[in-house]
């Protein structure tokens, strides 16, 4: 990487990358749901939520909690959830992260994973409970494989997000 920007254009590109990479990658992760994958049981992890919490846990100061509202709305629209489900669950997750951040100042890798696992469990069970309240009678056992898989996919996604972050901040 070159250390000195040669022109204003280079500076503008670097700044745009710096600012928009997190939001763009999260939106791309949301759009994964629009890929032509047809399966009959929920086993594929929710990458949108994983990318979202990976960015949030990596860079706590970057986003304030209300950024989850428009992103959640987009996720609801793409995924076919009732409008408001991801908006509420994602924002509640971010608010919970803010509380955790104010209590725990030293976080390491395992701590991050634990927090992420709790957030994923809250999100998956929240989605299940909301569907249940709306007249769906899916048994709780159906979502457990996906829950486990999503938790184990967190480190993978966190690595990818970390690499993106280094590229974002490289100059």
């Amino acid at each position: 990487m070159k250390r000195i920007a040669y022109s204003r254009r280079d500076v503008a590109i670097a700044q745009a990358r710096h600012r928009y990479i997190p939001i763009v990658t999260t939106i791309l992760a949301i759009l994964i749901a629009a890929l032509p994958i047809v399966v009959s049981s929920p086993i594929i992890p929710d990458f949108a939520f994983l990318v979202l919490i990976s960015w949030r846990l990596l860079r706590p100061e970057m986003w304030s909690a209300h950024i989850a509202l428009p992103l959640g709305l987009l996720n609801d629209l793409v995924d076919g959830h009732p409008i408001g489900q991801s908006m509420a669950l994602w924002t509640i997750t971010f608010l919970a992260f803010d509380i955790i951040d104010s209590r725990i100042h030293w976080r390491d890798y395992w701590m991050d994973w634990l927090i992420a696992a709790l957030a994923i469990a809250g999100y998956v069970f929240g989605g299940w409970a909301i569907a249940r309240m709306m007249g769906d009678n899916t048994a709780i056992g159906v979502i457990l494989p996906q829950l486990a898989l999503t938790i184990f996919f967190y480190p993978v996604v966190a690595r990818i997000v970390l690499a993106l972050d280094r590229w974002r901040l490289a100059r």
Binding site: A34, P36, I37, V38, S64, D79, H81, I83
Partner: protein
């Protein structure tokens, strides 16, 4: 490195107020989202314009690579086959023996059927067809079982229409955009379909379980009338779904629970047929309309 505290941004009043307002927006947003969900529960068709537009925007992504569906589906199947090879082999051998006997019976029935059809000059009723479209995607990261269809209201598809594949019923349209629509699959937890047992005509309700299977609940109490291998078809009761569309085959029949697998696997179907909503009572011609007022109400046949 200890992460910087996000709670107190410093001594700047402006930054502190900004943070505070940020939290108010977030909490207010959560309340708004809950309100939106309540509205969605009361009126599932609310925001249909917005949802339809979102479907239209994402449909090209889904439609672009249908081959990927096959790839992923085959890969998942392949892994499963590898793990369950031995038990599958034994099961298939048993199935083969049973099928041989059935085949002979089926040939006899087919011959009979052909004779009867020629007799009655039955033609396939194509008037119920609205559109033919491809299944281009499905929800795969939540407990809801939804699929995306590559045709929308521009082809006459409307919310509520039943969708079937060559093997059987796939589901029902719940949202439409101009060029795409969303289907509630029969295996979704909120899908209830009136069915009947093809063998004896016993009525039942087929409710999705969310994991690709269906639970069959008989309407009459008593001994479980279902056996493994039974085929269920729609009964046409209550409208929406036309009668005699194959729905599912029973894979497990215990004393208090009957689990069936849908005959139409959305992952393997290329084309789906959208049909008109079945409403026999409304479509039937009114007999003797001038004498309608004093005529006794006929029970629907």
């Amino acid at each position: 490195m200890a992460p910087p505290s996000t709670r107190r941004p410093g001594f700047s009043r402006r930054a502190q107020y900004g943070l505070f307002i940020g939290y108010i927006v977030a909490v207010g947003g959560v309340l708004l989202a809950v309100l939106l969900m309540i509205i969605a529960t009361v009126d599932p068709r609310g925001f249909s314009a917005l949802r339809g537009a979102a479907l239209d925007v994402t449909a090209p992504i889904s439609g672009a690579g249908r081959s990927a569906v096959r790839f992923v589906g085959n890969a998942v199947d392949g892994i499963g086959d590898y793990f369950f090879a031995a038990s599958k082999n034994a099961a298939m051998r048993r199935e083969l023996d049973a099928t041989r006997q059935k085949l002979v019976e089926a040939r006899a029935i087919e011959a009979e059927n052909q004779r009867l059809q020629a007799l009655l000059d039955v033609t396939q009723d194509t008037a119920a067809r609205v559109a033919t479209a491809r299944i281009v995607g499905s929800s795969f990261d939540s407990s809801r079982r939804l699929a995306t269809l590559s045709a929308g209201s521009s082809k006459g598809i409307a919310s509520g229409m039943p969708v079937r594949g060559p093997e059987g019923l796939i589901g029902r349209v719940i949202e439409t955009g101009r060029f795409a629509s969303r289907i509630l699959l029969v295996s979704d937890g909120s899908s209830n379909i009136p069915v009947q047992l093809i063998r004896s005509g016993i009525p039942a309700i087929a409710t999705g379980r969310g994991d690709g299977t269906i639970e069959i609940k008989p309407l009459e109490v008593g001994k479980n009338p279902f056996r493994k291998g039974d085929i269920l078809v729609t009964s046409g009761t209550g409208g929406i779904f036309p009668p005699n569309i194959p729905v599912a085959m029973v894979v497990r029949a215990d004393r208090d629970i009957t689990v069936a697998r849908p005959l139409a696997d959305p992952a393997k179907i290329d084309f789906a047929l959208v049909m008109r909503v079945y409403q026999p009572a409304a479509d039937a011609p009114i007999e003797g309309s001038d004498a309608l007022a004093d005529a006794p109400v006929e029970a629907p046949r």
